[in-house]
Symmetry: C2
Subunit: 418 residues, 2 copies
Amino acid sequence: MRDIEFEESKYIELMRQKFIDAAQRFDFNFMEPSPLELLSTLEAKSGPSISNETYSFTDKGGRMIGLRFDLTVGLSRFVSQRRELKMPTKFASFGGVWRYDEPQFGRYRYFHQWDVEIFGSFSNEADSEIIEFVYKFLENLGLEVVVEINHRQIVERFLREKLGISAISTIGEMLRAVDKLSKKKPQQIYEEYQGKLNLSKLRQLIEFSNFKGEPEDCPDINILETFEGWKSTLEIFDSLKSRGVKNVQLNLGVVRGLDYYSGLVFEVFDPSTAIGALVGGGRYDKLTEIFGRKDIGTTGAAGGVERILSAMRNHNLMKLKSKPLVYVVYSSENVKNYAIRIVSDLRTSGYTTDYDFQGRRIDKQINEAISRGASAIIVVDQDEIKNQIVTIRNSEGETSKHKITDLIKKMDEVLTLC
Amino acid sequence: MRDIEFEESKYIELMRQKFIDAAQRFDFNFMEPSPLELLSTLEAKSGPSISNETYSFTDKGGRMIGLRFDLTVGLSRFVSQRRELKMPTKFASFGGVWRYDEPQFGRYRYFHQWDVEIFGSFSNEADSEIIEFVYKFLENLGLEVVVEINHRQIVERFLREKLGISAISTIGEMLRAVDKLSKKKPQQIYEEYQGKLNLSKLRQLIEFSNFKGEPEDCPDINILETFEGWKSTLEIFDSLKSRGVKNVQLNLGVVRGLDYYSGLVFEVFDPSTAIGALVGGGRYDKLTEIFGRKDIGTTGAAGGVERILSAMRNHNLMKLKSKPLVYVVYSSENVKNYAIRIVSDLRTSGYTTDYDFQGRRIDKQINEAISRGASAIIVVDQDEIKNQIVTIRNSEGETSKHKITDLIKKMDEVLTLC
């Protein structure tokens, strides 16, 4: 059970707003895929780890149901079903997802993701557009990130042509082993896969994967140039330059854990926050293929909201402007209804306003106002109200008297001063 | 499975924003209670109907879990646990909820609610504040609603003192029978409860409940005046007048289906939309008592987002301002990167901008722009771009030529004209 409390809930809301604003600029359509899916649909996005992490149950109709673990599967299922949609089409979504794994730092069982996907295009420009969105969105939040790019075809070619591995299941196992390198040392990986994979080949793959930098600096560039996927990778690098995306690197070790990626894969890091990738994505034509649509090549990215917030916190980028509070106090029950009417008018005019509905003594009301950091206290006094007058006390403790009819006008002055 | 599609997703988002804005004016705190709860927690809010409607399952740790069916239970559980919270305290929440019932018009298995609650006050002013919030929020959306108020103590006193019923389970059954009157005719209710309840007493209760209007016009006012709850009801009517809340009626038939209400109950209707209550609420001190807190009397309201949207649609109040689209086309692959850079700059400046990453012929690109209702088309031509010039075509089809450096400045002019 994870409740999203006060501050956290405001930050997630802020992130949601900023995401919607950014996605609008790129003309993404918005939708929210169902939180509940048939388990068979979720398992289409396989990778055995995901199956273990899914909250699943049998519903009253006897169907196996799971809670969505990301927004990608639902979006892909939805778009695949909608044959009337004109392609290419761009979708964005923001919502909660569930993973039934061991909670770890910066990771929860219930957390939020945003997701952008382009369906119906096999063009490298679609991949570049996704990365541009991610980069600009994070840049706009104040984060200076590094984008690490790779191509599944490159790694798979290496496995097939250089290591002579052809079994799809072994290729998948090999890729997942490399994916674990971000969390474990090579030695630990070798121990884990002892007897399960050919360790000599795994070692060669891990050595091959161990490059991060400009494509032209890669020692294996002669091999890479012969691989499918290399030309696409260079085109994406080129396009990203035109788009003003900085800090892009080739990282042959980025493979992403899931089986369904088929082309570009990438991860985005904040170098000074050791929390794992903030965003991950790539091309996954295979998933929409599973949903019966060979025709809608798909590329996209998913960002972890709580992780991005964590990085922002790390850089002191988390600033919430809270609205100033106006607090109305009253000298006795007789004038309470006057006070309530003033509260009501102030709220209607857009001011965050509160008062004490408990009917306590006025000094207690004033203490309450001060302890809640009120920027202005309005005092409704039995004697003054006869003449339609109230007292405003500002945050410095200075008081002034005003006609009720001038109150709203006066408030702006008092609050801009504070 | 319910996907929230395009338009609907934008409207829900708009409602979320308006709700947050309104709740801020009333200085509510925000949070989101966990979507998953222990089933035992959800069942605390009983009413047998709710138990049947809960999506529940056994998790991998063998615990019985349910998906939240409202936000009230989670908020109450949360606040009850937090003994450090200063009382009274006000909470607001907005989120998806799940009910495993037969879908019906305006009702889904997955839908959205907003929720406002005041914890820690037994004052009638807290009840009035909740109703004021609901009324003003809906008024602000353009809805002219009727608020129908009742008090559980009044109906329970009638059952105990006039009909001589003392068994809590029978009182609960009787109340649920009355609650069904909004959907069924009395005759159907009598048939349904034949052999289960004393029909003569049920008939007397239904006749007693059959009053809607000003409190002073109630034919049973002499009886009512002797009941606990009557004075509170009149005080709430009085306070609502001070607060500018209109269209408030006493409706002795409003009892709400759930067992845990203990004082004020109310429902809010749009008289010209036959879709049931848009908002319901009341005082439920008993629920926080179940969570071990006798000290935090609680009152609140929950609104059905999809229902409110339905009412707004009915009154033609649904207006989404979509941002104008700028579409950039290019004459050949050679100048594609110029086009992409212009797209990127426009997006950075806040314009909703798109282009064709498929690399089709320019006439197809222009057709795409027109079919998507672009407010401006920017033409990047191989010959003109040499001189740093592009053509802008407005929505009337008029064209003009501009320096790239003037483009952003020019866009505002072009778009405000359309």
